[in-house]
Amino acid sequence: MARINLDHIRHAYGIRPTSPNDYALREVHHEWADGGAYALLGPSGCGKTTLLNIISGIVRPSEGHILFDGKDVTHLPTEERNIAQVFQFPVVYDTMTVYDNLAFPLRNRNVPEDLVATRVKHILEMLELTDRADKKARGLTADQKQKISLGRGLVRSDVNAILFDEPLTVIDPHLKWVLRSQLKQLHRHSKFTMVYVTHDQTEALTFADKVVVMYDGQIVQIGTPAELFEKPKHTFVGYFIGSPGMNVFPVEIAGKKARIGNVSVDIGFAPKISKGQKTELGIRPEFMDITRKGMPMTIRKVEDIGRQKIVRGELAGQAVSIVMKEGSDIPADPHVSFRDEGINIYADSWRVGQED
């Protein structure tokens, strides 16, 4: 297990990058704690796979260094980095038993058989596969095979880190939560440093202590699930985390007030805005109420999704989504009010807090 330092890393796939847009990965400079569970979350093309490949050694960064526990491994190949990897599709030897599959990474490193037995037994129990230990892997379902892949990633106790690349893609939706829960428990019990790449918010938020949200080649926020939900640092985080995502309205800021259309909202503090910056107010659908007072809105559609209602409409000429409780009434002349704790102010898409 190791602490991972990403020291001023940048990467461009083309030669001689000249502008920031030439970089698939713009500057990343972070320290990830030993034993932490990190998820790299973002849409396709955001740079998350590039970053994972830099950590694993498949890609050598154009600039910067990567360190494991202070040791520079930038120029070491994957085999010498002492990491375990779990991929999107199961990597399992069909003709071997479940036991032998799990033992493989250890035997490969000449670990004595008695130690192999202890480790494999432990993993079999964790994954609830003990009763299948002597069965050939061939007859197993896709998700059982992927469990073995996970087990092979976890079986060595001396790795610097375990890297997961969208490991639940092939799993049936109804079984995903079981594996998600198991992975989370595995981390609690093992204390490995884990890095998990996904485009699925539920996987990332459930698994990780810290979620690294990536967008357009850069890290836009590293935070706990609660931080990402309550205080998105970038409007992209507000959009990408949560369903429906955060509403973002263009506003004019004047002191402690934000003006949306021709209505003024009290925001409780005077955000520092530089001249010429684009200013926006972000508020999640959960922090808005439809009442008889407040800002007038028009309702286009009410989606009754059982446990709640999603009201779609327009506010100050802009599309808005509002979440309401099951069974709540919607007044004939609808108005909207914002709850203070849900208001975030953005300048050029980045959050400006009271603390800034």
């Binding site: 396709s44 109804h174 918010q201 959960e286 999704i305």
Partner: protein, 367 residues
């Protein structure tokens, strides 16, 4: 109007579809909801005419079309995989069914542009499909199905391969697109929340049988039986056996693993279940009708042990053990609760469901 009259499908001795009756009206959206292998794709293939029913008949607008092959029906299909012609531009992909039909260049141009506009593909008409995102590729496939003006459009999990943000956007858009068309749409999905977002009608499928068919929200709120309630809840509906004894439901809570002594728990029978006869029942409660905070004064509570909390962005699923049963609580916002804690959960009994020993819903429930 598409009618299924006692349609069944048996393949090498195995019943894929039990005798099924269904009437789908023109201009409606109909969701087939069920887990993998429940018969969704088999039903779609029977509707398309790709497969011939083993028994029963299929009528389209009153005309018997049983056994009429797919080529001679006016059907369009969209699959989970994005299927487009890779060497043709988006424009040509959308235009292809019209070219096959021998439409004039003017008509083709007008129709392609109209549908492209509806599907927000107008700026991409000159691009090749493989240079597009997954969502754009699937919109191209959908546009081709819609431009054909088929009287029946069949969609087999069309959004399954898209990431969740795109799915979210498409689910919001699709009903508008469907409403503008006037065809019969049939949409197969494994996800209850997708059915609810799409609206329209839903047929819940379980092991080759339609367990219920009706307006989507009403099937969700008033499932006829436990199978329908289960098919229509994700995370799964929480259930427990109980005995109704006068004004109380009595539950026996067994320890995990089924060992040790069972604890007796009594729950007051809510008004809407007062007419249920005394005796054994299965109680059902949806995850969002359980909560960590009291929903109203004197709501009954149960003791549970926490397991893992799943966080889905705007809401969290707290998995717990209630005795030896795995239950799920849905909470709004981010709730990351440590495992192995003994906590109380509150039950909103106004929405409690009760099912008889035959699995049928008892009395007026309000899911």
């Amino acid at each position: 109007m598409l009618e299924f009259i006692n349609v069944s499908k048996v393949v090498s001795g195995q019943t894929h579809i039990h005798p099924t009756n269904l009437v789908l009206e023109r201009g409606t959206l109909n969701v087939l909801l069920g887990p993998t292998l429940s018969g969704k794709t088999s039903l779609l293939r029977l509707m398309a005419g790709l497969d011939k029913p083993t028994s029963g008949s299929v009528r389209f607008n009153g005309e018997n079309v049983t056994g009429l092959p797919v080529q001679r029906r006016n059907v369009a299909m969209v699959y989970q995989q994005f299927i487009n012609y890779p060497s043709m531009t988006v424009y040509e992909n959308i235009a292809s069914p019209l070219r096959v039909a021998g439409e004039s260049a003017d008509v083709i141009d007008r129709e392609v542009k109209k549908v492209a506009d509806l599907m927000r593909l107008s700026p991409l008409l000159d691009r090749l499909p493989l240079s597009l995102s997954g969502g754009q590729q699937q919109r191209t496939a959908l546009a081709r199905a819609i431009v054909k003006k088929a009287s029946l459009v069949l969609l087999d999990e069309p959004l399954a391969n898209l990431d969740y943000k795109l799915r979210e956007e498409m689910r919001e858009e699709l009903p508008k697109i469907f409403a503008a068309s006037g065809s019969i749409f049939v949409y197969a999905t494994t996800e209850p929340s997708e059915a609810l977002l799409l609206g329209g009608n839903t047929a819940t499928l379980h092991q080759g049988r339609v367990s219920q068919f009706g307006k989507t929200v009403s099937v969700y709120r008033n499932p006829r039986d436990l199978i329908t309630a289960r098919t229509f809840s994700d995370p799964p509906i929480n259930t427990h056996t109980a005995v109704k004894e006068g004004k109380n439901f009595v539950l026996l809570e067994k320890e995990a693993g089924g060992k040790g002594k069972a604890t007796k728990i009594t729950l007051p029978v809510p008004a809407h279940l007062a007419t249920v006869a005394d005796g054994p029942v299965t109680l059902g409660v949806q995850p969002h009708h359980l909560s960590l905070e009291e929903p109203y004064a004197k709501a009954p509570s149960l003791k549970v042990k926490t397991q893992v909390s799943e966080i889905a962005g705007s809401e969290s699923f707290v998995h717990v053990l209630f005795g030896d049963k795995r239950w799920v609580i849905l909470e709004h916002g981010v709730r990351n609760i440590d495992p192995d804690l003994d906590i109380d959960v509150y039950l909103d009994t106004r929405h409690l469901m009760a099912f008889g020993s035959d699995g049928m819903t008892l009395a007026g429930t309000a899911g």
